[in-house]
């Protein structure tokens, strides 16, 4: 069996990020484990409230602290533990080694600066280039992203660009310092279907041409099927199933995963009615006892209400947390 250990570029172990609010402790991330391998696209999949965004923010410690805090766990990158390292070390990594692209392109760009200025600022922050070299680099990046007349586009303000263009500018900015890892938080969620296709294409290119290691966060399993290599399905702040994308789609083990697959309004399906998962996603302040999914699970057993399920490794590097497999 090929050892994949040397290939691992980021390893998240038992990560717990809690938010201490006046209304109670929100256990946004409650024991998440996964590794990102070099050159792969790892998808974090789940619906709203499952903790996937907080997981991504935790990697670079970008959440508000207080009230948030990493209470346990390690995030191993290079020789550092990002959960524990100093702010100075973290700042050097942010943007340069690990870059993040956010969902709302509108709010991530500064409305009073041209996009050229913003990209150049990003470049000069981390690389020892003078202004004109940084500018050239920015123009190259923009045209790589498929932005027409990139040189002229440098002097545009964000409001002059469409949603899809803004998203592309953001991706260009994140790539400006050649990061090792790119984290993309739902980049295709707020855009139209045809723009979604363009953006997915960009990510595909990133993988093939630059061998970029990506963590791609989404709630859309169809997107996962398109560009993911491996997927981590999250629910209630925990990872419930991890496997390669083809395994997850053809052989889902956790009832939530199979539920998600079934209720997708897939264009290739012919059935008249959609299957759905009854109930709603749990309130993070009032997590159910035992397995967080049990109130909605069609296969719930008595033990599911009492005990949290252990992690079980089945074949082919397929991990699942469910009592059905003990």
């Amino acid at each position: 069996m090929k050892t994949t250990m040397d290939n691992v570029i980021l390893k998240v172990s038992n990560l717990k990020t809690y938010f201490f609010t006046r209304r109670g402790i929100v256990k946004a991330v409650d024991g998440v484990e996964f590794e990102l391998r070099r050159g792969e696209c790892l998808c974090l999949v789940g619906e709203s409230g499952c903790g996937k965004t907080v997981t991504a923010l935790s990697i670079l410690r970008l959440f508000d602290s207080p009230p948030g805090k990493i209470v346990e766990g390690q995030i191993r990158y290079d020789s550092l533990d990002l959960a524990e390292c100093s702010s100075r070390q973290l700042r050097q990594i942010r943007g340069k080694d690990i870059a993040i692209v956010f969902q709302e392109a509108q709010s991530a760009l500064n409305p009073v600066l041209t996009i050229g200025d913003q990209i150049i600022e990003q470049i000069k922050l981390h690389l020892p280039l003078d202004y004109s070299r940084a500018r050239d680099r920015a123009i190259t990046l923009l045209s790589e992203m498929g932005i027409p007349s990139a040189e002229g586009a440098m002097s545009y303000y964000p409001h002059q660009l469409s949603g899809g263009m803004k998203q592309r500018v953001l991706i260009a900015m994140s790539l400006s310092c050649n990061p090792q890892i790119l984290i993309a938080d739902e980049p295709t969620t707020a855009v139209d279907v045809t723009i979604k296709a363009q953006i997915l294409d960009i990510f595909r290119e990133l993988k093939t041409r630059r061998q970029m290691s990506t963590i791609f966060i989404t709630h859309d399993l169809a997107v996962v099927a398109e560009i993911g290599d491996r997927a981590v399905v999250m629910y209630g702040g925990k990872d419930v199933e991890t496997a390669s994308v083809s395994e997850i789609i053809s052989n889902p083990k956790h009832p939530y995963t199979s539920g998600l697959i079934e209720c997708l309004p897939d264009i290739s399906k012919t059935a008249d009615r959609l299957t759905s998962i009854p109930g709603t996603t749990p309130n993070p302040l009032e997590m159910p006892q035992g397995c967080a999914f049990h109130p909605r699970c069609p296969k719930a057993m008595k033990i599911c209400k009492q005990q949290e399920p252990p992690e079980i490794i089945t074949s082919k590097e397929h991990k699942v947390s469910c009592h059905l497999y003990t």
Binding site: S162, A222, D266, T280
Partner: protein, 325 residues
């Protein structure tokens, strides 16, 4: 979901909604945003029409113009034979009993200051239906229909989840026994597993109450389960209109083809995707000739000169494209 042909409920003829754009100190009229630019189609009783298009294509504006929440610039809207554009205040109120809207953002569409029971009851009060007791009974009935518990009627919107809020919106829309419901992207803001619940609910209600829907969406995959007919909109115009089977199996307009291929699907991992170049142009300054021509992968020389008309190419299948004229 067998569809029986029924009476025509709504006929829209060459409907236009322009927003004038002014500039300068004296508000000079320099152009129009042609949000809806000559739309023609019909909705029959019990029919579900899916209206699909991307942001900026005018589908939401069309949805709001039909019940005159936005005033049409020109064109005809005939509801049960009567011209909606000419209705007086009283007639408009009557119309509002029969045509209802479900909105996209469940958060914003409920008054945060009213209990949900009051919100559902409001149409009954506005139209003076029944007395207090009868109204309470009706609210209870409606809440049950959408899968909510009656005891929740005293709660406020912020105490519900997104999916539940959308159910409340549906209950409110059903209060007056409408004939036509315009659903403006009702599931776009919801999680995937909840989307399925709400879509199923809407299908159930449609079958049970015999409603017609104008279902506005930006995603063809959602339409597939609901619609009898599908209309594709681009920059204010309908570019293709056909029944569901035809649209999905035999799309004619290049934009429809691109939309279909753009939807990520499990089976499409390695398929050839039609990638449209560029972005949707601004409705203030649409390209000459066919509005779609700069992004079209099957363009002909005539396309940048003449606008194609929406024409029936085979039975019930309309398309506006020079390829088929």
């Amino acid at each position: 979901m067998k569809h029986m042909p029924n009476h025509k409920l709504l006929k829209i003829r060459n409907l236009k909604k322009y927003y004038p754009v002014t500039a300068g100190l004296f508000s000079r009229h320099i152009g129009d945003i042609k949000a809806v630019d000559g739309v023609t189609f019909d909705i029959s009783e019990r029919e579900i029409i899916g209206l699909v298009g991307e942001s900026g294509c005018g589908k939401s504006t069309l949805g709001k113009t039909i019940p005159r929440l936005e005033e049409p610039t020109s064109g005809e809207i005939l509801y049960k034979g009567a011209d909606v554009t000419n209705l007086d205040k009283k007639g408009l109120r009557e119309l509002r009993r029969e045509i209802q809207i479900i909105f996209q953002d469940p958060d914003a569409s409920l008054d945060p200051r009213m209990t949900v029971g009051d919100s559902i009851c409001e149409p009954l009060i506005i139209h003076n239906i029944g007395d207090e007791k009868k109204r309470m009974e009706r609210v209870a009935e409606l809440m049950e229909q959408v899968g909510l518990e009656i005891r929740q009627a005293n709660l406020y919107p912020h105490e519900f989840s997104g999916g539940q809020k959308q159910r409340i919106g549906i209950a409110r829309a059903l209060a007056m026994n409408p004939k036509l419901i315009i659903a403006d992207e009702p599931v776009s803001a919801l999680d995937v597993s909840i989307q399925a619940q709400i879509l199923n609910l809407m299908i159930d209600i449609q079958e049970r109450l015999g409603l017609a829907y104008l279902f506005i969406a930006h995603d063809l995959s959602v339409i597939k389960h609901m619609a009898h007919k599908v209309a594709i909109m681009y920059l204010g115009k309908i570019v293709e209109l056909a029944n569901k089977k035809e649209i999905f199996e035999n799309p004619l307009h290049p934009y429809t083809e691109a939309l279909l291929s753009a939807v990520p699907s499990f089976k499409s991992k390695d398929k050839d995707r039609i990638l449209l170049r560029g972005d949707v142009p601004s409705p203030l300054n649409p390209p000459p000739g066919c509005h779609f021509h700069p992004r079209c992968h099957r363009i002909l020389p005539i396309c940048n000169q003449q606008e194609p008309e929406l024409a029936e190419v085979s039975e019930g299948h309309f398309v506006a494209c020079h390829l088929y004229v």
